[in-house]
């Protein structure tokens, strides 16, 4: 296998982008990535998108987007794995370059979620759960994560305040990210007083409905210097795993087994462990998710995830900064784009381009992107070459 580098990144402003269509949002990010990489051709493209069919009534997405990026004729495929679509698309692009089949691959992620009503968006997102045996009974996505939160609180003594600290921390980071949907700080008190969605989770525990896209350009490491003078960022680990998509079919309701397995595979491939990671972007679709994810990644012991945000361990300046971009909570969560945007944030951090939220001396970053309640997970490790 060839070594692979990320040589270009692009990301549009995220938020409620009423003036822009799905294709325009994607093209903005893709052209930014192509410009950043300095490439003049693309061999192949992968698009991470969860549900353009339900959100805007458009399938056959990869060909449409290749056409509008101006590269019609290339190989292009859409990748779907619910909210992990972007991360799995990145892995597909990585494998294609590593294998030698293609040299320059564009990996983009996109979701246009505000062209349907709130109820329509909730319905589209709910399709990531087991429709016949979870959704049919009236459980929602916040409801499924709420059951994880209850389990974690009961078994490990995690407090409601500790869970709120995840949102507070990520908004603090996001306030320094000009592309974030909600770039402002919130307080623990505001979280605890916000509207109850599914006990014990409140609206400020939930990531928002977002329009947005992100894109990156991959090429063989040994060819990368031809295109860019920026620091070369190498992909050193890639791991992917699945789990039952029904939460009730798992032995343990608040342990992300797929994240554990994906991380083990990525760590092994990169020859590193959790303590070697400078910073991480993880899937905080709900506050409780970040708590369970950092445990599964090995950043903290099992049951200790709640204390990490409260103590500052996972904040900028802490031992392992998590979600310096603001995470899904503050930056926004256009589901198919999220996994690619995580790669954008880590790449910029490793290049030293992150401004006020720069992690000093960052050498190695990790991304963790998951679908549904953890039925799919993909983990990547990137390093300064």
């Amino acid at each position: 296998m060839r070594e692979v580098a990320v040589i270009g990144v692009g990301m549009s402003q995220w938020g409620e982008l009423w003036k822009k269509s799905l294709r325009q949002i994607f093209v903005d990010a893709a052209l930014a990535a192509i410009g950043d990489a300095g490439v003049d051709k693309i061999d192949s493209m992968y698009v991470g998108c969860m549900s353009s069919g339900l959100f805007v009534g458009q399938e056959h997405l990869a060909s449409l987007l290749a056409d509008y990026v101006g590269v019609a004729g290339i190989s292009a495929a859409r990748v779907e794995s619910a909210c992990a679509s972007g991360g799995v698309a990145f892995r597909s692009g990585y494998i294609e370059v590593a294998s030698g089949i293609s040299d320059i691959v564009l990996v983009g992620g996109v979701e246009k979620m505000t062209d349907v009503s709130g109820d329509g968006a909730t319905y589209a997102l709910a399709t990531a759960a087991d429709q016949e045996y979870e959704g049919y009974q009236g459980v929602t996505f916040p409801g499924l994560y709420a059951m994880m939160a209850s389990d974690h609180m009961r078994r490990f003594g995690t407090t409601r305040e500790q869970i709120a600290h995840v949102a507070v921390k990520n908004h603090k980071h996001g306030a320094m990210n000009p592309r974030a949907q909600y770039p402002y700080e919130i307080t623990v008190d505001a979280v605890l007083k916000s509207v109850l969605v599914a006990d014990p989770l409140r609206i400020l525990d939930c990531s928002p409905i977002t329009d947005g896209a992100a894109a990156v350009i991959l090429c063989p490491l040994d060819a990368a210097k031809k295109f860019t003078k920026k620091p070369l960022i190498k992909v050193t680990g890639s791991g992917s795993s699945t789990d039952t998509i029904a939460l009730h079919d798992r032995e343990d309701f608040c342990e992300f087994a797929a994240t554990k397995r994906a991380a083990e595979r990525a760590y092994k491939m990169a020859g590193v462990g959790p303590s070697d990671i400078s910073l991480a972007e993880v899937h905080d679709c709900f506050t409780i998710a970040e708590i369970c994810v950092i445990e599964a990644l090995g950043f903290v012991e099992r049951g200790e995830g709640g204390k990490a945000a409260e103590s500052g361990l996972t904040a900028l300046g802490g031992r392992i900064p998590v979600n310096t971009s603001g995470g899904l909570k503050s930056k926004g969560h256009p589901v198919g784009a999220t996994g690619v945007a995580q790669i954008v944030e880590i790449t910029e951090q490793l290049r030293g381009e992150s401004g006020k939220r720069q992690v000093k001396g960052a050498r190695r970053g990790l991304t963790q992107n998951m679908g549904g309640t953890g039925g799919s997970t993909v983990v990547h490790i990137l390093e300064v070459a």
């Binding site: 709910a126 049919y136 009974q137 009236g138 409801g143 709420a146 599914a198 006990d199 009730h248």
Partner: protein, 130 residues
Amino acid sequence: MFPARYWREIPQRYRLEAEKCKRCGRICFPPRSKCPKCGSMEFDAVRLSEGGVVRTFTVIRVAPSQFSDQAPYAVGIVELDGGVKITTQIVDCPLDKIHVGQKVRVEFRRIQEDGSAGILCYGYKCVPVS
């Protein structure tokens, strides 16, 4: 909901029909072609137990449109005797009285209405037992 899609799941939703692996004894609900535990493809038909225990739960305050007239309502993961776990509403008791470890019984109930002109959808819900 398209009627055929609803109709296909009736054996499970109305009658709790499951299958037990002939080799390892694992009960699959809904039935599967291949046992996820041992890989065997031979099963005996069984019916799930109607008794169980609440393992975790939540109260849905913001509900999908077809459930909005029921909100707030409790949903939990119930482990039935025999080990199968199901996601189900927990009904017929005050929301603040539900707790992990509570014993419940499966009952046949109306689950949702498919709009004003669509089909009525039935299935299982759990009620506490003392």
